[in-house]
Amino acid sequence: MKKIIIATLACLFLFGGQALAHTGLDSSNPANGSVVSEALKEISLTFESKIEQTSSFELVNENNEKVHITNLTVSENVMTGAIDKSIENGAYKILWKIIGADGHLINGEIAFTLDAPIVEEVQEEISAPDAESEVLETPKEEVTAVESEEDSNTGMIVIIIAIIVVLAGSVWWMTRRKSK
């Protein structure tokens, strides 16, 4: 009996989770949703674990035009790239695609806003030391309800009735077998 209990408990956690999947983004500079208040020279993305050499990223502006990135390097879990020319203020997105050490392909994007002072001006009127003053977290579009509440409810009732019918049939079959 003891064995059964042990086996039962063991089974509860059996195969607890053969994790074979993705390496996520750990942090980035600029961070997602941040407002960058200085001229942007370099972008660096830090991942949770080692990423492979063919990993890359692109920087696009509001009109989906690519900004040229030079010197894109991957070292262990950090990917960096430099921006040579100064770029205009506005909303940007970093589109990254990497391959983790476990062989999985992962894409992601980081949105940020560039709000750097114009270089020529001598006096910086606003000095903003805190880059993350505004968070532009945009939740993924809401899932639209395909079915109305009532429709899905009747669907479920039909399924439940079907299950009960099958159950009744099975019980009947078993008792019939017994009486033979």
């Binding site: 089974c11 607890g16 053969q18 994790a19 074979l20 492979e52 392909l105 809401e142 899932v143 078993m174």
Partner: protein, 368 residues
């Protein structure tokens, strides 16, 4: 489509491992303690080729991804020579050639030393598979060892079950076979459960488990766990009830019931393989942001999705009813053994128990 293929391929890969390990361990057992088992040389060769091919599947995913940017030869070169998965596959490939030649030249010899060499080669292949696991990628050596232990225990236990139920010529010595297999299986259960829990804790806070049901990885893990419940039932039937029954009726054939147990394990393999294709809930909020909720979960929840939602369980109404039905199906699946029903009938009852309990849980989910 690619995802379904990858999942099937991965589940078959585990089966090939189990078949080889099972057949080598079986040949180490003294004759009086096992049924007559024949795993032909060509079957073993198919399993070896299976390991080489199915373990290449993840690389095909990467190659199709890189192909557009780098061309075939360059992407093949960089994947095989610089990527962790590529290097691990080369290691696996070389080992499968060695194992294939070993089977060709030495396998027919009836010596324990050859079986031990076979076990060692399969174990080295397990190391190759664990090398590219998520656990090692994130947790280094500790993750690697945990994964190796987890997978090795699965392969040993399932392998013995597979070989005994599908490759035995007769049911001779079944009681004496059970006397050691039952203990081995329990030992493997314990290892699998502990390492499984550790692996699970690598990907989530265990208290967050219901929250992970919102994404595909959590759905697969939930289905896997639900499948394990009837598996306990079959372990009970095949390990304990069968012993009693065999003592009373020695003409009974236990093998159809162990075959059913193995088929259930195949389903668990498939759920595990599906998890390998999905993002683990290390950062649940960002997965919800980028990928949205799991399509399966979307069948039950049509409200708004954002990073802050959490899941709670509140059993009532239909949900409770379905959980109750699941319990009845589970009882039926075990009762059918006593009623001498066909094992397939019992299997269908088990699957219905899993479906009902899944629906019951999903209907009881409350998103806050």
């Amino acid at each position: 489509m690619m995802m379904i293929l990858s999942t099937i391929s991965e589940a078959l890969l585990y089966t090939c491992f189990a078949l080889l390990m099972g057949s080598y361990i079986f040949s180490l057992i003294p004759t009086g303690f096992k049924p007559d088992v024949v795993v032909s040389r060509s079957t073993k060769h198919i399993a070896v080729i299976g390991i080489a091919l199915f373990s290449f599947m993840p690389l095909i995913n990467i190659l199709t991804f890189l192909y557009a940017d780098y061309g075939l030869s360059q992407s093949l070169q960089s994947v095989l020579l610089t990527f962790e998965v590529g290097k691990a596959w080369l290691f696996t490939f070389i080992l499968t050639i060695i194992l294939g030649l070993f089977i060709f030249f030495f396998d027919h010899k009836n010596s324990k030393a050859y079986s031990i060499v076979g076990c060692v080669l399969v174990f080295l292949l397990i190391l190759g598979l664990a090398w590219t696991s998520h656990a090692r990628a994130v947790y280094g050596w500790q993750g690697f060892i945990t994964h190796v232990l987890h997978f090795a225990a699965v392969v040993i236990w399932v392998g013995l079950l597979l070989v005994a139920s599908w490759f035995s010529k007769n049911k001779d010595n079944w009681l004496r076979f059970l006397s050691w297999f039952h203990l081995t299986a329990i030992g493997c259960f314990v290892i699998i459960s502990i390492t499984g829990l550790v692996l699970m804790s690598y990907t989530m806070e265990l208290t967050d488990y219901p929250n992970t049901w919102m994404i595909s990885y959590g759905q697969s893990l939930l289905i896997k766990h639900l499948l394990i419940i009837p598996l306990i039932g079959y372990a009970f039937i095949n390990g304990i009830l069968m012993k009693r029954k065999l003592r009373a009726h020695s003409d009974l054939d236990p093998r159809p019931w162990t075959k059913i147990e193995f088929v259930l394990i195949l389903l668990i393999f498939a759920a595990t393989a599906a998890m390998g294709q999905q993002s683990p809930p290390l950062n649940l909020a960002s997965i919800l942001n980028f990928e949205g909720i799991s399509p399966l979960f979307g069948q039950f929840y049509t409200g708004p999705v954002n990073a802050d939602i959490t899941v709670q369980l509140a059993f009532q109404g239909y949900g409770l009813l379905l959980v109750g039905l699941a319990v009845i199906f589970l009882v039926l699946s075990i009762l059918s053994f006593f009623r001498k029903m066909h094992p397939l009938f019992s299997f269908i009852m088990s699957v219905l128990a899993v479906i009902s309990s899944y629906l019951g849980l999903m209907l009881s989910v409350q998103v806050i």
